[in-house]
């Protein structure tokens, strides 16, 4: 396509200029992500909470879990910290978008990359990859540490089957929450608003719909994003009434897709 550019200090028409590739947009967004401290603080929190709390819970409960009066499975504890670490995915997923709106930098971004859908896609890809890697890594460290204490009581678990699935499942769940929040961030544009809405939806509303009587309440509970998506991140769920890991994650993916589609439409139409 033709573009008017400067070459050797003169204005020239060039017919062979290609649009910056998606890879370029992705590189730009990656530079943005890694050049602010909040990214590293948040990811450090993911690791400390996710791995640390798992180890702490296993250490504290190993001997009870091994006893006869245990009414929970050790499988519910081996990724316990990830339930708390998911909050950090909400925070980073929001910050990646909302700080740009808060500072007005979104205008610089959209002036540099007028194809706004690409900006959204690049951010979503980055959040997914970062949280899949960090989430899975954190879960593995938590497993290694936690299982040490479980092993001592003779209830250790091998890294296979549902346990193995819960490791990369933790990565998938955190990645999912990250994009989910990112999409909400594009819709709401405010940091505090985005974080509150997503946390309320995941942690509070997810439990409150339980109070709706009958099958309706039961299904609402199953379908709430936090409940549907989190099953994949534990070998044995605390709540036995939730959807199975993969069907649940499928529901979560559909919810993410709907939000992303809404964000895509709104971002392209709305004035920046």
């Amino acid at each position: 396509m033709t573009a008017t550019l400067m070459e050797s200090g003169r204005v020239v028409e060039r017919g062979d200029v290609a649009r910056p590739s998606f890879a370029a947009v992705l590189r730009g967004e990656w530079l943005k992500l890694r050049t602010v401290r909040s990214t590293w603080w948040t990811l450090l929190a993911t690791f400390v909470l996710g791995a640390g709390l798992t180890i702490l819970m296993c250490w504290g409960n190993a001997d009870w879990l091994a006893s006869a009066d245990a009414d929970e499975s050790p499988g519910s504890f081996i990724t316990w910290g990830m339930m708390v670490a998911q909050i950090t995915a909400v925070v980073l997923g929001a910050l990646v978008v909302t700080t740009e709106y808060g500072t007005g930098m979104i205008r610089t971004t959209f002036a540099a990359v007028p194809a706004r859908g690409r900006v959204l896609a690049a951010k979503a890809v980055l959040v997914t990859v970062v949280f899949f890697v960090v989430g899975t890594g954190t879960a593995l460290v938590g497993y290694a540490g936690g299982n040490y204490f479980l092993d001592r009581e003779g209830i250790g678990m091998a890294l296979e089957g549902d346990v193995l699935r819960s490791m990369y499942g933790s990565g998938l769940y955190l990645a999912g929450i990250g994009i989910f929040t990112l999409a909400v961030g594009f819709l709401l544009r405010h940091t505090a608003g985005t974080i509150s809405v997503v946390l309320a939806l995941m942690l509070i509303l997810g439990n409150m719909v339980n109070l709706v009587p009958g099958a309706v309440g039961e299904w609402l509970t199953k379908l709430m994003p936090g409940n549907a998506g989190s099953a994949v991140s534990t070998p044995v769920a605390f709540n036995p009434n939730l959807l199975d890991p993969w069907p649940g994650f499928g529901v979560f993916l559909v919810e993410i897709a709907v939000l992303l589609a809404a964000a895509y439409v709104v971002v392209r139409r709305r004035d920046a």
Partner: protein, 312 residues
Amino acid sequence: MIRAHSLTKRFTTGKGQSKNAVDGIDFVVEPGRVTGFLGPNGAGKSTTMRMILGLDAPTSGTVSVNGHRYAASPAPLREIGALLDAHAIHPGRSARDHLRWMAASNGIPTTRVGEVLELVGLEPVAGQRAGRFSLGMGQRLGIAAAMLGDPPVVVLDEPVNGLDPEGIRWVRTFARQLADEGRTVFISSHLMSEMALMADHLLVIGRGRILADCSMTEFMSDHAASYVRVKAPALADAAAVLGGRGLEVSRHDDEIRVVGLDAPSVGELLFEHRLAVHELTLVRSSLEDAFMGLTADSVEYHAIAPSEGVAR
């Protein structure tokens, strides 16, 4: 080149009311000269600039950069560089990193980052977090960002805001240099005095409408009214002589003001009639006055002059 055709932006102002922030304007910003976009606050300057950059969608009408819609540009930062808001940067990111991500997103080589930092004189503080920057440094960073792609079209929204006199002069020289290189330079301001020194061409906007679209010299001669002040012992006689020549003459206390003839000719005319003259001065109202006069009706918020405020 930037071309706007019937460009309109309507905002709803609550209670179902709406107003045209930009009201069907037509203009062309030509390359090779500095075009000043002048208007009081709230006149529609920034909205127009955002529409040029595809950030705001026009309610109706079109605006194109180098013949196409900005959003359709294959090389956005290399076609148009813009400074819209010096604060629109992440406070935690360094100046260099800010420029690096912008360069990366448009496939511009990273070496260019060092060049533009040097160009605006920010090299020594490039590693500092942008949040610590003064307004002036932020403006320089914004200008560096605008120049990243070495674009033939440069749009700067109030670039001298917050700059010290040295910085203001730098922007002026810089804008001149860009125009001399054949680039299209479009600079907004609400200060006439600034534009008078910087712009070749003027686009005056008020309440979303174009009030003047002319060269700086034309604007001066058209809008900056001038008259010759005459003080003479026989003021009435002098007024009669000058009025008799079909000149516009008005009397103010101990002086008369003559419009339509230069000072030497007024002096000679009075000399022919043997009338003594004590003072003969060409008085030019400033460009600031001219601009104020032109936009008086379109200023959004008038301050009440102190004397009026005390009156009741």
